[in-house]
């Protein structure tokens, strides 16, 4: 702890904490133009200079760690003059087009120009012609760019795309795509978010609204289990149409990162009116029904309503995907002794050794990918990715890729467990299991060589030679629907219990964790099924294609239970004029609440939820970056199971044409696909090797004969992809998508070329 003072106030810094960080934490203002909390100090703007008693010249507060007993002054006439001069320089030749600039009203340059009273210009330089660049979702105007470099740093340090760089040239410097003629990236749009001026903007949003006309609705992203914090920004659709619409999405970019699906896939709302006839038919259907099937794209409160329907009306609740995850969690608890997994995204960022098994994270859960990027860049962590298909986007952060055969996940975890545990732990678990482990067989069948496991262990040892630090095992969606999921979960639980590893079980869909905790899910359905965003005899649909309309998640208030085991609130961005689930529950006598959010405080406490009113849930970030959104679930102890882990089963063979259900980046579900910026078909994507084996050519229209019926797809070769397993995107398949989610992600299929009718 380092004691020093800022403007006479006694403050304390942690080791390595910079003067600016302490100042911000303490609420002391130091102006900046290029500082972005979540990346390393950029040091380009020089506005944050301060005076330190006894030190000649100005000291850069953003990158200078505090030293004991220094006396810092953040403001003086000299500092003011210099900051004013810097602002004057920033304003040289900055186009005077604020009237039409998207950023006007929320522009750092505007704000600081006013703050430092730059009302005239003494400096001039010859102007230059610099054309605007159009990069698909993003537009770049170099003449508006102040070269703060925030975009470049966030792209490299947090996202991991490393897709843009500065073309150095002094006054002519500009941002350019890195090593490519045009921008080729995952289009997360963080560069737009962090841009302090109007240089990088959303092509879609351009010229549609002034910043100050928009209404900001704080919410949680509904697309994946990261449930990132975001703001929907809305206003009336047009002069003729007073109905509000979402114009764009913004995020707390200083501390949080949002992917492109969250940023560009915002208009998935379901516009509907109260259709009393349909409502009546729905009630009739409920009378008839004995089963409700639903997806995990719902709030915790809706999940609780469904659970109440089950409890009071005896419906069976079906949600195959959440059920698989729920069982996985239960089995995991049996050997780990905890109801929940331990790790969260922050843990990943701070880890220096990570193993990832069974997830295609760059599209499954970009937040995990970003956390991995941060850990690699900051900690120089070892990241071992184990998967049948190499994730090209993860390549820059992964230090070792281990390919295993489709279906052999149990062998992989078994070998890891065997390698990571010491003798004492093995003794406790039961020596026999380890003695019976036929490593030769497992290694041969899974294609994971013994030497590869040995290499992983050596890397672990090297990384932790001096400090046993943070290791994290990240497990993904592939495992939960695996035929041997129960044993996989137990193995994972043992790794948590007997090693330094903390485990993360990435929840597969937006609120899978909430559903798994709140609902008693059934294995089998009955005769007549109500589908809620799922197949059924009577379908309630937020996509607008069912028998009764339901609100989409940007039209609802409520909470999600996210990957960090945090209960996060979301709010109504767009009004919904139709019926909601609570209306049905009320009509069925199961709910006595006027609003769905009255259920928030009734979420099951035995699962770690707290009896807090929705309106009392915080939803903000503090100055020092700490997250205050909702609350975290309590991880409760459970008794260890006496059941032994099972021996590893014979490994299945996956020969022939195998597809892996994997959405393209920016897509998660039919809800992202519905958004106008993301409304493009998802192809079947294979490697050259796959195309040769399947006798397909790039651009072929194909019919996939799957157990879900015939799927028609466009086939595309991805030259970066390797191996014989192709990626099948399903976001564009409508309600079919939901039906697939409870199944193992790999499937053997037959593919034929489509003959034009």
């Amino acid at each position: 702890m380092i004691k020093f003072s800022i403007d006479g106030k006694e403050v304390v810094a942690k080791r390595g904490e910079t003067i600016l960080q302490v100042a911000r934490r303490e609420g002391i203002y130091i102006p900046t133009m290029c500082y972005l909390s979540k990346v390393k100090p950029i040091e380009s703007c020089r506005l944050c200079v301060v005076e330190v008693e006894g030190v000649e010249g100005f000291v850069l507060s953003c990158q200078t760690p505090a030293t004991p007993d220094i006396k810092v002054r953040t403001d003086s006439q000299a500092l003011y003059t210099h900051r004013q001069n810097i602002m004057q320089l920033y304003d040289v030749n900055h186009p005077l087009e604020c009237g039409v600039c998207d950023k006007s009203g929320e522009c750092d340059l505007q704000n600081k120009t006013l703050e430092f009273r730059v009302d005239h210009q003494e400096f001039s330089a010859k102007d230059q012609y610099r054309p605007i660049q159009n990069w698909q979702y993003i537009q770049y105007d170099p003449s508006l760019c102040i070269l703060c470099e925030k975009c470049v740093h966030v792209c490299n340090e947090v996202i991991g795309d490393d897709a843009i760089e500065i073309e150095y040239g002094g006054y002519k410097s500009r941002i350019i795509p890195k090593d490519a003629p045009t921008l080729d990236c995952t289009f997360c749009g963080e560069c737009i978010a962090v841009c302090p001026v109007g240089a990088l903007i959303s092509s879609d949003f351009k010229y549609t609204s002034n910043a100050w006309e928009l209404r900001r609705v704080p919410a949680a992203c509904a697309h994946c289990s990261a449930a990132c914090h975001l703001y929907y920004e809305t206003k009336h659709s047009s002069i003729e149409n007073p109905q509000p619409k979402i114009y764009r999405v913004k995020n707390e970019f200083e501390f949080e990162t949002l992917c492109g699906a969250g940023r560009f896939g915002f208009d998935f709302e379901n516009r509907a009116q109260k259709d009393e006839e349909a409502f009546g038919r729905a009630l009739e259907a409920f009378e008839k029904a004995d089963t409700i099937r639903f997806s995990s794209f719902i709030t915790n409160e809706e999940a609780l309503i469904l659970q109440r329907l089950k409890e009071q009306k005896g419906y069976k609740l079906l949600n195959e995907e959440a059920r698989a995850y729920q069982k996985f969690l239960d089995e995991y608890a049996q050997t780990s002794g905890k109801t929940l997994y331990e790790a969260d995204l922050e843990r990943i960022e701070k880890s220096d050794f990570l193993i990832l098994v069974g997830s295609f994270v760059s599209s499954d859960n970009p937040a995990v990918r970003y956390a991995l990027t941060v850990s690699q860049k900051r900690q120089g962590s070892e990241i071992i990715n184990m998967h049948p298909i190499e994730d090209d986007l993860l390549k820059p952060v992964v230090t070792k890729f281990v390919k295993y055969e489709v279906g052999s996940e149990e062998a992989v975890l078994g070998m890891l467990l065997d390698g990571l545990l010491d003798e004492e732990a093995k003794e406790k678990i039961g020596k026999k299991w380890f003695e019976e482990l036929d490593i030769g067989y497992l290694s041969a069948e899974s294609s994971v060589g013994e030497e590869e496991i040995a290499d992983i262990l050596e890397r672990l040892q090297r990384q932790h030679r001096f400090k046993k630090d943070r290791c994290t095992l990240i497990l993904g969606e592939d495992l939960y629907t695996h035929p041997r999921a129960e044993n996989l979960a137990k193995l994972a639980g043992l790794i948590d219990r007997f090693t330094d590893f903390e485990v993360m079980l990435i929840p597969p869909k937006t609120n899978s964790l909430g559903v798994a905790l709140i609902c008693d899910l059934d294995e089998e359905g009955g005769e007549y099924t109500i589908g809620y965003n799922a197949k059924g005899d009577f379908v309630l649909s937020a996509l607008g294609d069912g028998d009764l309309d339901m609100p989409a998640l940007n039209q609802q208030e409520g909470t999600f239970t996210n990957i960090d085991k945090r209960v996060v609130p979301t709010n109504v961005a767009l009004p919904y004029e139709g019926y909601v689930l609570n209306d049905l529950a009320k009509a069925l006598g199961v709910s006595d609440k006027e609003y769905t959010i009255e259920f928030t405080k009734e979420l099951p406490q035995e699962k770690g939820y707290k009896p807090i009113d929705f309106d009392d849930l915080p939803n903000e970030f503090f100055n020092d970056g700490t997250e205050h959104r909702g609350y975290r679930l309590e991880n409760k102890k459970v008794n260890l199971s006496r059941k032994n882990i099972e021996p590893i089963a014979e490994l299945p063979e996956f020969n022939g044409t195998v597809l892996y259900r994997c959405e393209p980046v920016l897509q998660f579900s039919p809800f992202t696909h519905k958004a106008h910026q993301l409304h493009w078909p998802c192809a079947l994507v294979g490697s050259y090797q796959f195309s040769v084996a399947a006798k397909l050519e790039d651009g072929d229209e194909v019919v996939i004969h799957s157990k879900f019926g015939e799927i028609i797809k466009h086939f595309r070769i991805d030259p970066k992809l390797k191996g014989t397993v192709a990626l099948l995107g399903t976001s564009d398949l409508g309600v079919e998508y939901f039906a697939m989610q409870g199944n193992y992600r790999y499937e053997r299929v037959k593919i034929t070329k489509r003959v034009e009718p």
């Binding site: 390393k40 200079v49 000649e56 100005f58 070269l147 006054y171 860049k377 820059p396 230090t399």
Partner: protein, 680 residues
Amino acid sequence: MSRVYFSCWKDELIDNRGKPKEEWQESAYNFPEHYNVDQASKAFIGWAGFALFDEDVDVVKLGTEYAAQYQIYSEACGRCAPGRWGGRILYDLFDKIARGEGEQSDVEHLKEVSRTMMETSKCEIGRTVPKPLLDILTYFKDEIDALIENKKPSKYYNDPSVSYIAKVTAPCMDACPSHVDIPAYIEGVRDLRYDDSLLATRKTMPLAHTCGRVCPHPCEEECRRANLDEPISIMELKRIGADFEDEHSLFWLHPYKQKPLNGKKVAIVGAGPAGLTGAYYLAMEGVACDIYEELPVLGGEVAVGVPEYRMPVKKYNKDIELVNSLDGVHFITGKRVTAEDMRRFEKEYDAILVASGTRISKKIRAKNERDEIKGYWPAINFLDCINLYVKYGIPVPEEIRKKQKLDKEYVDLSGKTLVCVGGGFTSMDVVRCAIRANAKKVIMLYRRDEATIIRNTTYEEYHEAVEEGVEFIFYSAVEEIITDEEDNLKALKVNRFELIPDPNGGRPQLKKIEGADFIIECDYLVPAVSQSADLSHLPEEWNIELTSWGTIKTDGKTYMSSKPGVFAAGDCEYGPMTIVNAVGQAKRAASVMSRYVLTKEANLTDDEIMEDHLRALKVYDKKEKIKGWLPGLPRQVSLKLPVEERKHSNKEVNLGLTQEQAIAEAERCMRCYYIAMVAV
């Protein structure tokens, strides 16, 4: 000393205006008065002022050009607001005055923008560029006022006959024999762009793994941060980029695209650091290289001299593979080049680079010192035997095993006592390898004191050796080697010395202490005082000039020997020196050779000429006071393998900085870029 008409540099002001030439006062600084042999300079301008060598210099134009050079060179910077816009405004305003369109208010604005740049720019280049310009405004105010008054362009504003040659440097870059762009590679680490970091290193230094581990880092002696607190750990930051390439299999990151082969061919003698570097930059320029190596392995002294625990061969091989990855690079190992071969090379190749090092251990000049003594083991051969086995599994040859009484196929010194006479890096390698070869006792004899041995090597090296159990005996030298009837080494008679300070303030003299001699019983004596070059492969009739040290003589700039087309770099040119010195020389030689093979002329580029001029002037100023940085941020120290673990193994001792440490260390770098310019 330089003869100047006018100069202001740091605190010195020489004003000979209005004085007859014979009364001109000289400047104490070594300014580049003569650009090269046949070209005088008109003026020099740089970070601390300017100098005019001629009365007829247009100083306003000089200032404009200097500001313009900053713009041109801004790819080295241009990353902060004051530098980016300020630099442009500086130029525009200065040029406006020089063109004859200026106002007095422009002078005021110039001063204003200069102040902002000087106090807040990100790097020294932005902070120092305004300095000489303000000096011009001060000392040549009359000229400026006249231009503004008369609205006329400056005297030679439109004269194209004067050329302006600029160069960006930094104290550390200047001190580095390879002139590595150190601030850039540190910036790469700071920005978490490890690939950029490596690319910056490789512009002038292909052996990033090696020089990120075993460089004696002369740069750190001239690091400006030392004026504030402690120097940056420059060397250790170099391996971050190289390890990143390795860990992420990004093979290979070249600083630019290799040029297509141009049909020219060079023979290189020796595949050590100099030979490898020469090959890398020649091949990058499109010149094919055949590299002949006497040893069965590649890498020269770094491979067989530097022990595994300091320089893991796996990492060194990455540097070698990088060179080998280029088109036109061809290695021939196990081939000792003879004079006959050299004659053939002269016909078959367009040029020859001799980089054969210094591989003969010098004698210690003791009585009875003979090569035949069993147990007398010259350092070079001792290290060859150890390293070839440890790194490549090549057993010790039969005849050496016999001579040195080894009963295993590798060097095992169990139960033996070894004495090494030395004091430099090689002797450190010998004693630390002897510890790892399980010797019972290892003694280092050194004529001078502890402080000198640290100065000759590094503090870390000495400290680690002591930790591992090496016994150092200072102020001592072997007088006589005592052998038995079978010519086995038995003992050494050692003299003791004391330091007698020189009353005139010179270097203290060593004086033998009478009656203080003592005997050390030992099994091995390893002379490691110095090495000399084996140049038996140079054909006699070529009459290649040698230095008084017995190395190949060159002009120290182009590295061409007295025989046109034959170049020399590394230890065989300089005498036993550092890796980074060999790399620097070979890089320069390769550059000259890449032009020589096309034109048959050995000449330097402007950049290289400026490099030498700036080294003569010296960029680093130990006395400079640092402004605008908070002192007291400690230098990061890398983790070392615990002594018990390293003593008996060849595992790398230095584990390097952790990523967090490296980033923190990189943030201490003050980016001391400067720009200098000569008018000719």
